[in-house]
Amino acid sequence: MSIEITGVNKSFGDFVALDNVNLSLPTGQLTALLGPSGGGKSTLPRIIAGLDNADTGSVSIEGVEATHLPPQKRNVGFVFQHYAVFKHMSVAKNVAFGLEIRKKPKAEVKARVAELLELVHLSQFADRLPSQLSGGQRQRLALARALAVEPSVLLLDEPFGALDAKVRKELRDWLRRLHDEVHVTTVFVTHDQEEALEVADEIVVINQGRVEQVGTPDELYDAPASDFVMSFLGEATTLGGQLIRPHDIELSVTPLVVGGVEGVVSRVLRVGFEVRVTVLTDAGEEVVVVVTRTAARHLGVQEGRHVWLSPAAGAVTLPSAGLPAGTALHAV
């Protein structure tokens, strides 16, 4: 195990950021810490890096007890949301920073910097200042700087959070490919479930300081352990008191199935290829159903139409006991 976290608690005043967190992350794995904003998930990489200290509990990195080591001694690479590049240094100087502290010979530093700039596709910008780079380029620079010292662990705190949607998507794919190349144990924090599902080998879902579930993207999506995980990873809606994915509901205009829930279409919203149909059931439940545009047209779905809803075969459902009304839509 590359990172071993045991019984870690951390509070800031009244705010509990981490509540008895236990995790072991294997060497070479790309792990996503996923959770809603303000849920305390950013505190965990900060504690692993030694930028914050845990109130109780211990951290070990590559088998070395690191709980009380200063950040300088942990050999951890950290990438911040807002890049944190050294603005007065050229791109090459930024990458060389950690190497120069380690007093590496000049020729070696130069070679390593060139190699890393090649890796993050910034070779032609070596002599520029960070202010002359775009946001995405700055973040790649920050990544190269962190990787330069060959850290045993790479931590990224919402690395793409400050970038626009298109760049974010590009960098996400790029990070995945980079990790396949470099194989350093990587933990990245995100509140974007799509990002986590796409990039990570394993996802740790954190809510209100607690680990809700740990698993591969498929495991989490197909077998969510709690209604929180279900509604946070992908969309969820309630049908007959059960949490269910909106695309796992079959919609028909005739009462085909025994036990189908009857309701009236209250809203139809077309988003690209999919149609989001809101149905008010006779029991007073608002159910969101997602169907393809073709299906919607075929069925003739429109506001005021009587429809029958039933879970599709093999659909994942969970009792939605603890979930307040309306929560189902927040993960859209």
Partner: protein
């Protein structure tokens, strides 16, 4: 960026590389603004400065040489420059420290201290002189009497120049993200190394700007030190006191010669500091 910068796309990155031919191609409204600014600047600054220079020549070459070779003037000039320089160095250290404390440390009374910093700046200088005289003069309640010594000059200058470095460094420190320091520390940098290689370079332009203002204020100061220093020729007399004496004795031409000299020194210092600043920020 390889796009040739044009006036339609002014931006920070392109400003420096704007081709020379575009300089005269101002729009009507910016021509007007430039005109107004130049007239205003001329009326307030350029014309009076020129007048001083002109008046300095009314005494003729011989007159100027006589003023400049007067040993009492030289002593005053030397004292003024040394004291101003000393106070500037003090301010660079203390001002940066105070700014650091105000921005980084959370303590009771920080807000009050933040306001008090400006008092030496806001206080009429003669009032500052009175305050210093009553506290450090012959009737000192704490029995520290520096009246009529060079320490009095230093004290007065230190008092009035205190806010400059603090106020130029403070906003820069506030803008400085702590995650940059955290990044440095996780890359293995000690606190000291981080300060030297990461924080200080960001502060240098602000420190230099503050130092320049403090020095300029220092060589021109009159009101705050005139009461406490005693104005003893060859000992505690500063150059501005010499200028006043010339005026009072009906010799404005001689006063103007010294004024022009001060002006020249101020210009040299500001230019030198600007050069230093450029070199220093480039080196890192």
């Amino acid at each position: 960026m390889t796009i040739a910068p044009t006036l339609e796309r002014p931006g920070r990155a392109t400003r420096k590389r704007r081709p020379a031919r575009a300089v005269n191609a101002l729009s009507r409204s910016s021509s007007l603004a430039l005109g107004v600014s130049l007239v205003w600047f001329s009326l307030l600054v350029l014309i009076p400065l020129a007048a001083v220079a002109v008046q300095a020549t009314t005494g003729g070459w011989d007159g100027a040489v006589k003023v400049l070779s007067n040993p009492q003037n030289w002593a005053a000039l030397k004292l003024t420059l040394l004291e101003a320089l000393g106070v500037t160095v003090l301010n660079v250290v203390m001002g940066t420290t105070i700014a650091w404390v105000l921005v980084r440390d959370r303590f009771r009374g920080a807000a009050i201290l933040d306001v008090i910093i400006d008092i030496p700046f806001a206080l009429p200088t003669i009032v500052a002189g009175l305050v210093l005289l009553s506290l450090y003069g012959p009737q000192s309640p704490i029995e520290v009497n520096v009246a009529s010594t060079r320490a009095a000059v230093f004290l007065a200058l230190a008092f009035v120049t205190l806010p400059f470095v603090v106020r130029t460094v403070q906003p820069v420190l506030e803008e400085l993200d702590t995650d940059v320091e955290e990044a440095a520390s996780s890359l293995g940098a000690s606190r000291l190394y981080t300060f030297r290689r990461v924080i200080l370079p960001s502060l240098v332009p602000a420190v230099v700007a503050g130092a320049g203002m403090a020095f300029a204020r220092g060589i021109a100061e009159y009101g705050s030190l005139v009461l406490l220093s005693g104005n003893l020729p060859f000992r505690t007399e500063v150059i501005s006191v010499r200028i006043i004496s010339y005026i009072e004795s009906g010799n404005p031409a001689a006063a103007s010669v010294l004024a022009a000299l001060l002006l020249l020194i101020a210009l040299l210092v500001i230019t030198a500091l600007d050069l230093v600043q450029r070199r220093v920020t480039k080196r890192w």
